[in-house]
């Protein structure tokens, strides 16, 4: 397995889905006769995760991300293919395997809602057989890092979403897991708390060497955290690599925001599309697969009196959005 902490080979998983029409008659018919269709959630998925890396596992809704996460956590079994994590088969060795993993699911709480979070932490101490000394040390570290000293004594039900998420992190990290699965950890969290959580993930990854597998729809999470990303669409990997490589491979345009000295109309530059035009300002989209930025700027300067230029790249969000839409490799 070398440096790989997880190896996924040829994993496929399909679900049987009940097909039902939306009319009253269809509902009545379904009492006597039901049609099922098989939906392939994952199709021959292959990848590996290196020890200590932060991997972003991305995809539109229904792409198969959650299914893959559940398979990697040992909650469900694939129909075919193999998965090895920490030298174990997650679904077969579940009770042993989960001792060394942690998970934060943004939509599902592992905390007891009517009790203070500290009670869940104490319960986890017993579940994972953490010694008193290690528990105290680890709890102090995590509480200080996330600045939640007072919060952990209030009933979870009374916490804000961001506060609850911080407590979820503590609960999932007390036993010093080797792999941390994060499913939408910043969804519904305000900007400041989001930044705190991102800094925290970076810090624990760097200091404890914990491998992080992150699913998110927030491109900010991806840009600030992930060493590598995998994009999944309809159960198939459509991209695997780093963010710079993603840009290199998929970046199709850059934008020039041009400020003119005089009022300028009807702007026409080869390989550029005018996105927005005002009397003294215009936004031009440069197709970089057909021309270079320097050429586009040169053409612009030759034809118009330009006061200033800003260059804007296509955002990662937009690139990922295009990949989702096209489903191309």
């Amino acid at each position: 397995m070398h440096n790989n902490i997880i190896e996924v080979r040829g994993v496929s998983k399909s679900f049987k889905k009940f097909k039902r029409g939306d009319s009253l008659l269809d509902s009545l018919k379904s009492l006597f006769y039901r049609e099922f269709e098989t939906v392939a959630a994952l199709k021959n998925v292959n990848f590996e995760v290196k020890k200590g890396e932060i991997l972003g596992y991305l995809g539109p809704n229904g792409a198969g991300k959650s299914t893959m996460i559940k398979i990697m956590c040992g909650i469900i079994e694939p129909d075919s293919g193999t998965i090895t994590a920490l030298n174990l088969i997650p679904s077969k060795d579940r009770e042993k395997y989960v001792k060394d993993i942690g998970a934060v699911f943004g939509q599902k709480s592992s905390l007891w809602p009517d009790l203070p979070a500290i009670d869940t932490f104490r319960l986890n101490k017993e579940i994972y057989k953490i010694s008193d000394k290690d528990y105290k040390k680890r709890l102090d570290e995590l509480v200080n890092l996330l600045e939640v000293k007072e919060i952990i004594k209030s009933p979870v039900r009374n916490l804000s979403f961001g506060e609850r998420m911080k407590c979820e992190f503590i609960a999932s990290l007390l036993h010093s897991p080797k792999i941390l699965f994060l499913d939408e950890p910043t969804v519904g969290v305000d900007v400041v708390a989001k930044q705190n959580i991102r800094n925290f993930i970076k810090k624990i990854n760097k200091e404890s060497g914990v491998t992080v597998i992150l699913t998110t729809h927030d491109v900010g999470d991806v840009e600030s955290l992930c060493d590598r990303i995998i994009i999944l669409d309809k159960g198939i990997h459509v991209y695997e690599g780093s963010i710079p490589l993603l840009k290199k491979k998929y970046l199709s345009y850059k934008e020039l925001i041009v400020y003119f000295e005089n009022e300028t109309k009807n702007i026409k530059i080869p390989n550029c599309e005018v996105v927005e035009s005002e009397p003294f300002k215009a936004t031009l989209r440069v197709n970089i697969s057909n021309t270079s930025m320097s050429q586009a700027i040169q053409n612009l300067m030759e034809k118009y009196k330009v006061e200033d230029i800003d260059i804007k790249e296509e955002t990662i969000e937009s690139i990922i959005g295009r990949i989702y839409k096209s489903g191309k490799k």
């Binding site: 959650s66 559940k70 909650i75 579940r94 993993i101 009517d114 009670d119 319960l123 017993e126 579940i127």
Partner: protein, 265 residues
């Protein structure tokens, strides 16, 4: 502290949060006391019989009062919990713990039942004794019957846990399956009325049903109706049924979770 005991403590703590349910439960018990007290007086008074199927009126009323005092302990919510775990996908958070799924729920159930035992038994006994002539038939019988009720809780839990596994395959059958299970249990456990009221031939069959050992047997111990040998035998049978249903759970749980498709994490 053992993790199982830690779960019990956690569930006990959580149960202390719902003070209102304590008052509602006590009110429910008082209504049950009143109905049974007057209902059985009317039944016995109808043709003036002193004994019906081996139980005197006072014994029958105490039988029903004792059930009401103790049934909060035996009660389980496991069927609904498993349904929610499967339907809402919260099973994921439980399967991420290095523990058996059923035993996590058992510990939580024991914690909740411990709170009910702690908070409701003594006030219920006091109310029943003052207003409805409830009495003990000997401290020894009372203590042994409480122990028997503890075994009943375990038995009831594992029966319900097995029934709840249906949720893994047929999630939409929750209410129907739950209804049939409860009707069967309420009648054949002796919760609605003592099993002595059934014809002899049925009583012979009941000896082989696990439901008999859930309510009827512990209450008959409390009434001092069972010999020492029968009491020992009842504990052996309860333990046997607990082991039997636990084994069935282990057998089916592994198979059902392997084909489990889950819900979005």
């Amino acid at each position: 502290m053992n993790y199982f005991f830690a779960f019990i403590v956690q569930a006990f703590k959580e149960a202390t949060k719902s003070r209102f349910s304590f008052f509602v439960n006590m009110l429910g018990k008082i209504i049950f006391f009143i109905i049974n007290f007057y209902l059985w007086q009317a039944i016995f008074g109808y043709d003036g019989r002193e004994v019906i199927n081996g139980l005197r009126m006072e014994e029958t009323i105490n039988y029903m009062l004792f059930i009401s005092i103790m049934n909060g302990i035996v009660h389980t919510h496991i069927h609904g919990k498993v349904m929610m775990d499967v339907k809402e996908g919260t099973i994921a958070t439980k399967l991420l713990k290095p523990l058996d799924y059923g035993l996590q729920h058992l510990a939580i159930n024991l914690g909740k039942s411990s709170f009910v035992a702690f908070s409701e038994i003594i006030p219920s006994i006091i109310i029943a004794a003052i207003f409805f002539n409830f009495r003990l038939y000997g401290l020894f019988y009372f203590l042994i019957s409480v122990a028997s009720f503890f075994f009943s809780l375990m038995l009831n839990f594992f029966i319900d846990l097995n029934v709840s596994l249906v949720n893994f395959k047929f999630i939409d059958t929750y209410h129907a399956v739950g209804f049939i299970k409860n009707v069967f249990k309420n009648i054949f456990s002796g919760e609605f009325f003592p099993l002595n009221f059934f014809p002899q031939v049925f009583q012979g069959i009941f000896k082989f049903l696990p439901t008999t050992y859930m309510i009827y047997t512990p209450v008959m111990i409390y009434l001092g109706k069972l010999s020492a040998t029968d009491i020992i035998l009842s504990f052996i049978i309860q333990s046997g049924f607990i082991l039997f249903f636990y084994s069935i759970y282990k057998f089916f749980y592994g198979r059902l979770t392997r084909s489990f498709e889950g819900v979005g994490v």
